[in-house]
């Protein structure tokens, strides 16, 4: 009797997700191999594509390292300390999630541009180019992915509470030992989770990087920019091959996150 509604709902939901997400995403893999393996291999022999993949790896690597250090530090300060402006800091840290990538790119370019940037001009005078160069891409990528580690760690820190840390202190452990031996192991899965999300976001960044990179082929072109470039030049297989590579990274990231989530759910249940 009342079973019809749920079945219809289930069918609608499945159809929506298949048509919007699952089917299109699967096409990127089949599309890459539409004309066999050879064009795909050619794409990955192209030094420009390889350069782009390398630049993406560098930018994502820096973004992960910077955001992990910053994220753990700020999360500890926000959860474990009181200081004036704490709520403001918490709000500011979330800000990058609400800013359009193109605005991020513009913002970075305005400050660090070599010709008229507030900080760009003095930096250029000492020979440091930020915009149209790797540091600009790193800055833009880091900006975009800034809150991801913090947001994963804060709830874990709150849930773990301070008792374990206090117990360690009362047993003679100093602040650094307490962090290394007690806090870090307690937040490790949240941290891995945050790092994976940060990595996926950094690898996939497009709009902000497009603005700050100048899209100089072979020098400042990242993998996502290469996808656009190849597609615009009617190299469909090439575009799909690089896109499939990027999609694989994100799907592996989701799989890791999914496994971790299942793991934490098992532990809490």
């Amino acid at each position: 009797m009342a079973r019809r509604g749920p079945v219809v709902l289930r069918a609608v939901v499945i159809a929506y997700l298949v048509l919007l997400v699952a089917w299109p995403v699967s096409l990127v893999f089949t599309g890459a191999f539409a004309n066999g393996l050879a064009p795909v291999l050619d794409t990955f022999r192209d030094p420009l594509v390889l350069n782009a993949l390398r630049l993406t790896a560098i930018a994502a690597g820096w973004a992960v390292v910077l955001n992990t250090v910053f994220g753990v530090g700020v999360a500890l300060l926000l959860v474990r300390r009181t200081f004036p402006g704490r709520r403001l800091l918490a709000a500011l840290v979330d800000l990058p999630l609400a800013v359009s990538p193109v605005v991020v790119g513009l913002a970075i370019a305005l400050v660090y541009g070599a010709r008229s940037g507030w900080l760009g001009v003095p930096l250029a005078n000492v020979g440091l180019d930020i915009i149209y160069s790797t540091p600009g891409i790193v800055l833009a990528t880091t900006f975009i992915a800034l809150p991801l580690v913090i947001r994963e760690i804060i709830p874990v820190l709150e849930e773990v509470g301070t008792e374990q840390e206090q117990a360690a202190r009362s047993l003679g452990a100093g602040p650094w030992t307490t962090f290394r031996r007690i806090t870090l192991p307690a937040i490790r899965w949240g941290l891995v989770y945050g790092v994976v999300l940060c990595l996926a976001r950094a690898v996939g960044e497009f709009g902000a990087v497009k603005v700050v990179s100048g899209n100089l082929i072979g020098r400042t072109q990242t993998a996502t920019l290469t996808v656009e470039e190849l597609y615009m030049n009617f190299d469909r297989e090439g575009a799909f091959a690089v896109a499939a590579t990027l999609a694989s990274v994100s799907i592996i990231a989701i799989a890791i996150v999914g496994l971790l989530r299942a793991r934490t759910e098992r532990r809490t249940s």
Binding site: Q166, A167, S170, L171, R181
Partner: protein, 351 residues
């Protein structure tokens, strides 16, 4: 080692947790900080441990000023209500933690851990993870962990509060015996007056940030300093304008001198105990506790007239009308809790 707390005040925002508190704890004693939740006893314990800092006042441990010392330098062992087990370490590694921090030789650590696990009856569980232990076992592990570093003072914050009644009872006896063996100065926080009376050899009653009374369990029970302490340590009722314990009232079938006449309002039998409520005219009904044998000998039934008088040597206090008058359904705090239940007819089940 002795602990001395002098004029300690601690506030959290606008809330005063401790208000000019002074307590001295004898070396080698087992002291209970007893009081209602939110009264400041946990805060006091945490200040002794260095987990909180007093706004003003002085904490001395073994004669040395420890007021500003960080927790890791105080030589105290702290046991938390919810165990604070390190979930990613085995039971043995948990116990070894403090020794490893101190970079003791591995052989010594292993020997000490084995010894402590035996002491807390967990020798079979060294390789388990804390999540594989029961609550009582986890708390014993936490105790072994705190004892491992040979603290000069052992502090326990509601150590049995998260455990069920039976395990709690076992651990109480066990803590008492452990203290007799180890002799380390021990302070524990509890809101359970039975626990304090049974385990401690010194009790500090704390309420609303103040020390109400300090003394041995007998002294506190027999000579409570004020209605609060009296009602917190056990049931109370009123007879002839004085607070008295229900079992300190004699019920007589005949009129004698100085006895108050009343009518039995109801009788409730619980095990070997009979709880009788006696209406005495204008005053609130008096709650009396008799043994079954006494009730049988008395032979009273509901509606019968009986005579009440204080037993010889009964502890009494004058009733402060403002504080104890049971008007309306909300009983005033001084007679609330246990006293309130007794006044309400000693009808609450005892377990």
């Amino acid at each position: 080692m002795s602990i001395e707390i002098r004029d300690v005040t601690k506030t959290f925002g606008s809330f005063t947790a401790l208000d000019d508190v002074s307590v001295a704890i004898r070396p080698g004693s087992l002291t209970a900080l007893l009081g209602p939740s939110g009264g400041g006893k946990s805060t006091l314990l945490r200040i002794i441990a260095g987990l909180e800092t007093a706004d003003s006042g002085v904490v001395t441990i073994d004669g040395a000023d420890a007021t500003r010392l960080p927790p890791q330098k105080r030589g105290v062992g702290f046991v938390f209500q919810h165990y604070a087990a390190f979930p990613h370490m085995s039971v043995a590694r948990n116990v070894a933690f403090g020794l490893e921090i101190r970079k003791r030789p591995r052989e010594e650590v292993r020997a000490r851990v084995d010894e402590l696990l035996r002491l807390v009856h967990l020798e079979q569980f060294g390789d388990r993870m804390p999540s594989q232990l029961s609550g009582g076992q986890r708390q014993r592990m936490a105790l072994a962990r705190a004892l491992a570093v040979e603290p000069s003072v052992l502090l326990l914050d509601e150590p049995f509060g998260a455990l069920d009644a039976k395990v709690r009872k076992e651990l109480r006896d066990w803590l008492r015996r452990l203290h007799d063996e180890v002799h380390v100065t021990t302070v524990f926080v509890t809101h359970d007056q039975e626990e304090a009376l049974e385990v401690a050899d010194e009790i500090v009653v704390i309420s609303q940030g103040r020390v109400e009374q300090t003394g041995s369990p007998d002294a506190l029970y027999d000579r409570p300093a004020n209605p609060f302490v009296m009602s917190f340590l056990g049931p109370v009722t009123q007879l002839g304008g004085r607070l008295v314990r229900p079992h300190d009232i004699e019920v007589l079938g005949i009129e004698v001198r100085d006895a108050v006449a009343g009518v039995v309002a109801d009788i409730q039998r619980v095990g070997n105990e009979a709880r009788v409520r006696v209406g005495v005219g204008g005053a609130p009904p008096v709650a009396v506790v008799l043994t079954r044998a006494e009730l049988r000998a008395l032979g009273a039934r509901v509606g019968d007239t009986v005579w009440l008088r204080l037993a010889a040597g009964a502890a009494t206090l004058p009733v402060d009308d403002a504080a104890v008058a049971p008007s309306g359904p909300t009983l005033p705090a001084v007679a609330g809790g246990e006293g309130g239940r007794a006044l309400a007819g000693a009808s609450s089940p005892r377990g």
